[in-house]
Amino acid sequence: MKKRHLLFLALAGLLALAGCGTSQSSGEAITAVGSSALQPLVEAAAEQYQTDHVGVFINVQGGGTGTGLSQIQQGAVEIGNSDLFAEEKAGINAKKLVDHRVAVVGITPIANKAVGVKNLTVVQLRRLFTGEITNWKQVGGKDLPVVVVNRAQGSGTRATFERWVLGDRQPMPAQEQDSTGMVRSIVASTPGAVSYVAFSYVDSSVRALALSGVKPTDQNVTTNDWPIWSYEHMYTKGQPHGLTKQFLAYIQSAKTQQRLVSKMGYIPITAMKVTRDAKGNVIDKQGEKSNGSN
């Protein structure tokens, strides 16, 4: 008899759970998947949007840029978050996707504090990551071997950094870490370590390096004086409609951009004085075309 009761309870519980699911989606539900760098912003925006609009449900998941782009290409989700232009990712047919740029992220090289270097030229930085410079004294620092720490292959941060620093040169094989937090703690604790992180991850445990005297600041990114930055994209398959459209408009609205986006450590898309396309051509927002790629 007792077992019967248990079974009944379990069934009732299942039914209740199923009921929950339907009552949530009785409004409208969308899913955004992808880039872990963009995830915190989308999560925060979704939370705010849901408190303003009762009955909608926005599900935000990480998984990486590759996951986001492949899921949106298959049409499995409503929004695919990406650190890269879809054109830059192999295996993605960018023509079917519509790009919505929601923020800008600046990326800065960071080094262990003991290296004794605060400023590098782009060429020096490139040589550090291709393995031509193996000791910090070659760039005016202390006598310390260089320890390069990379993000995992295919990471959006790494792709952006390599595109604007290495150009078409290949990086030397080195340590790889799959999260920015891990990169920072390793650089902080390993003598001679150098890597790169998004601006919002720089803290007092590591040293952000300036490039030819240009400091890694939001201001310098908006004018493209600091070239290592990328858009954060939210891709939809075809033109968005319904809740997807409203939510994207909400993130791109001036209010969200000014308050939430800068509060979360990203650079608002509205603050940018230049635009850049997938091929790397930089265009002044006044319409005048300035220097091309790199």
């Binding site: 840029t65 295996g91 292959q153 340590q175």
Partner: protein, 307 residues
């Protein structure tokens, strides 16, 4: 028809119950078999696509040492050489097993032969506690204690096979120990008595009779530990450095099959070569764990005690 005949011909209540029980258990087992088969099929279909769809040579996959699937080499072939990961995985697995086995056997002998009372009271719970610690905790301790210590003593960055070995050593120690304890306990009491009766000392009894008789069980334990070490992802990933390089010594950053898999899978697009190459690594892992299982069975069969 008289009631007795009717009752005899009708299927009894307990027969029905048994039938139902058989059906349920058949359903459960077939579900498990289907899941396993589906996993095998999925991993194999994805993993083999690297060789059939992307035309990567199997031999170059196993023997080349440049892992950079997104970039083609001078001849236009994708660079998918998994050798560094294979070497890394086997390196940490064998080294940690080599380090852990003497400790495990020593602890097990102490717990079964020398001081069973204390073994049951103190060592057993400690070993069981070690099993329960999540691997991320081991990895975190490895990152914040083992890596700096190795850097301090040996120089370099501290990341590498040595750090991975230390972390895995602690992780597989309880597995190997408890299986060794079981193996030693399974040695019949009269073996020991016979040895002592023939005038063997305690040491002679333990080393030449008990250990010899328990050898298959001990080996099974070691292989089990190795299987666990081979499949461990998170803790190793945190301390090994994840560089797809052939390790030239124990303290240079290296990588394992699992660490490359976990760090890469989210950054690749399903169906692309980068993704297929990762699935090939997964297939390799699956085949290796299959091999470990076969080895365990083989040891079990080969070493059955003949009475």
């Amino acid at each position: 028809m008289d009631p007795i005949k009717a009752a005899m011909l009708k299927r009894s209540r307990s027969a029905k119950l048994e039938q139902r029980g058989k059906l349920i258990s058949l359903f459960c087992i077939s579900l498990i078999v289907i899941v396993v088969a589906a996993i095998f099929f999925f991993v194999a279909s994805r993993g083999l696509a690297t060789f059939f769809d992307n035309k990567v040579n199997l031999w170059s996959f196993l023997s080349k040492s440049v892992w950079s699937p997104a970039v083609n080499d001078a001849h236009g072939n994708p660079q998918v050489g998994a050798l560094p990961m294979i070497v890394g995985s086997f390196g940490v697995t064998f080294l940690s097993a080599v380090v852990a086995t003497p400790f495990a056997v020593g602890a097990a002998i102490f717990m079964t032969e020398i001081s069973p009372k204390m073994g049951k009271k103190i060592l057993q719970p400690v070993i069981e506690l070690l099993v329960g610690i999540p691997s991320v905790v081991y990895g975190f301790i490895g990152l914040s204690v083992v890596v700096p210590a190795i850097r301090h003593v040996f120089g370099g960055t501290g990341f590498g096979i040595l750090a991975g070995t230390f972390v895995l050593f602690v992780m597989i120690l309880p597995t190997v120990t408890s299986m060794t304890v079981d193996a030693l306990n399974a040695v019949p009491r009269y073996y020991r008595e016979a040895s002592l009766a023939l005038g063997g000392t305690r040491w002679q009894t333990i080393s030449r009779v008990v250990l010899r008789a328990a050898m298959p069980g001990i080996l099974t334990g070691v292989v089990f530990g190795m299987a666990r070490a081979f499949g461990e992802a998170l803790a190793v990933q945190m301390v090994i450095g994840n560089a797809a390089l052939l390790p030239h010594n124990l303290i240079s950053p290296a990588s394992t099959l699992t660490s490359v898999l976990t760090s890469g899978i989210g950054n690749t697009v399903m169906g692309s070569l980068e993704n297929n190459a990762l699935w090939s690594l997964a297939l390799l892992l699956l085949l290796m764990s299959l091999a470990f299982n076969l080895v365990i069975r083989w040891i079990g069969k080969k070493g059955e005690m003949k009475r």
